[in-house]
Amino acid sequence: MPDFITNYLDKSVQVTPGQYGSPFWALVYILLVFGGVSLAVVCMNWLERKILAHMQIRLGPMRVGPHGLLQPIADAIKLILKEDIIPEGADRFVFWLAPMIILLAVFSIYTVVPFGPAHAITDMNIGILFMLGVSSLGVLGIVMAGWASNSHYPLIGALRSSAQMVSYEVAMGLAVVSAVLMTSLNAEGTGTLSMIGIVQAQYAQHVWFVFKFFPLGLIAFFIFAVAMVAETNRAPFDLPEAESELTAGFHTEYSGLRWSLFMLGEYGAMIAVSSIAVTLWLGGWMRPFPNLLRGGTWDLTFSLFPALTFFGLAGLTFYSTMGMPKHSYFRAQTIGLGALGAVFALIGLVLLVPPVRGRVQDIYWFILKIAVFMYLYIWYRGTFPRYRFDQLMKVGWKILLPMGIGVLMLTGMVALRTEIWDFVYQSIRRLVHV
């Protein structure tokens, strides 16, 4: 095999392909991340409908495949076959460009998402800045879509969305800065913006930043968690696409495949901002208690979790197979469900192999933490009523922004508490002596 393929597989290489300078593996990672995110979006689509349905005591999709498992595939086929309409009087070029911009922005974010110390496409010196910058490009796509449609509902949706995203970006940025400030509390006194560096700083300081300087880290995390829901235009902040007022908001005039690109962009952005939150406050790829519970036994125990999860999924699938109707009409579905369970079990077995186990567990913990956020997104949508626009602006500018500034200042003060005490003490002593 060519050297440029094998040299990155060396066990001593503990950096990302981008840092190592291996274009081949960078490409492999890009394809993996692209495919993985698309697959996750498909799963999210099914899960959201199912979970929302169960929250509202409905069954949700049940017709296509067992428990509606094949529903996303049916939807995809429908969307591809649908007629692609461009409204009359629309700016055709901008109309065509808008969904592309959104997708481009969302998938560019994943360049720096650290799934593990070596599992990212690349690590940048300005990682978090890059992520915030590129995700702010997504607004452009929405504004362009709303304007190019040459229609009232999309235009109002786009105006709402740009106002909302620009205002919540400010609070979000302040929360991020307070987390970045925490990375600088080491011997050298220099912080980092690199995503991998931020997680390593949490490892070095023996604490997730959400628990650092309690409750300051928690408040910053809360601000980010609220702002990120607003950033991604999800309930309860989904005013840009409020069905009852604007039909579908900025993508009212889009149909078929283009509309599905918007959906892909929206769910991709949700996963991306969740990964920012996980990296900055929840310890990124680290397993629970990496410093406290260390040693061979604990390492082994925690490294078994990915395999156990897949065995659990397999068990659930086999259990559902038993519950399938016995009628011959359902035989194909029952066999399919059993095969899915077998695939899960097989993946679980592969994850038990020691070299795979060691490499995969970072990714597992990272994805598990993101999954919690994804569930929260669905939960919000199922429980919160939609805000009014003035309430939204009030929350953004009058509550979150002052809170963000306060947390930032307090974090700085607590970080420098010894220096400040020292200064006060010296000043008092000087006064007393005079």
Partner: protein, 170 residues
């Protein structure tokens, strides 16, 4: 310093795109399309900053100009009556000012081309990319503290001014 891959190619690609989209900004009739072209120009500039080993400046360029200011531009343009702006004349007939600006710019180009590097200031220290952001922070809060604070004061005045102008009753 080690020369990265295809530096010249990317330089000409980015600057060519920047100039092309810059021309589009003034020639497009539709204000939204002009604004979009301006966004492309700003993105190309961010790419050029990256090539100058200034990732922080590039990131800030994208966040502030593309993500913030240009979105507000588009926001305002959407509220403007587009039919009227379409009918307006696109260029003013200010030949004297135009010729003057062209001559000065041409003289600048020629002098740079002939004198070369001697004309420009030499960079004092070359920061490695990995420490660029940290160094900018340290510089801003030590050597350039005063201009930095002045700039923040200016911004504060601008914010207060905007509020005073926008609100009728305070």
């Amino acid at each position: 310093m080690e020369q990265p891959v295809a530096t010249t190619f990317f330089f000409y690609l980015l600057s060519g795109l920047a100039i092309l989209s810059g021309v589009l900004v003034i020639t497009r009739k539709s204000p939204v399309q002009a604004a979009l072209a301006l966004i492309l120009t700003l993105l190309c500039l961010a790419g050029l900053y990256l090539m100058l080993y200034a990732p922080f400046v590039a990131g800030v360029q994208i966040i502030l100009y593309v993500g913030g200011i240009m979105v507000l531009f588009l926001f305002v343009i959407m509220l403007v009556n587009l039919e009227r702006s379409q009918r307006e004349k696109q260029f003013n007939q200010q030949w004297i000012a135009g010729v003057l600006a062209a001559v000065v710019l041409g003289a600048l180009f020629i002098s740079i081309y002939t004198k070369g590097k001697a004309l420009l200031l030499r960079p004092v220290v070359e920061f490695p990319e990995a420490e660029n952001t940290q160094k900018i922070g340290q510089m801003l809060y030590s050597n350039y503290m005063f201009p930095f604070e002045i700039a923040s004061l200016l911004l504060l005045v601008a914010i207060i001014g905007a509020v005073v102008m926008a609100k009728k009753r305070i």
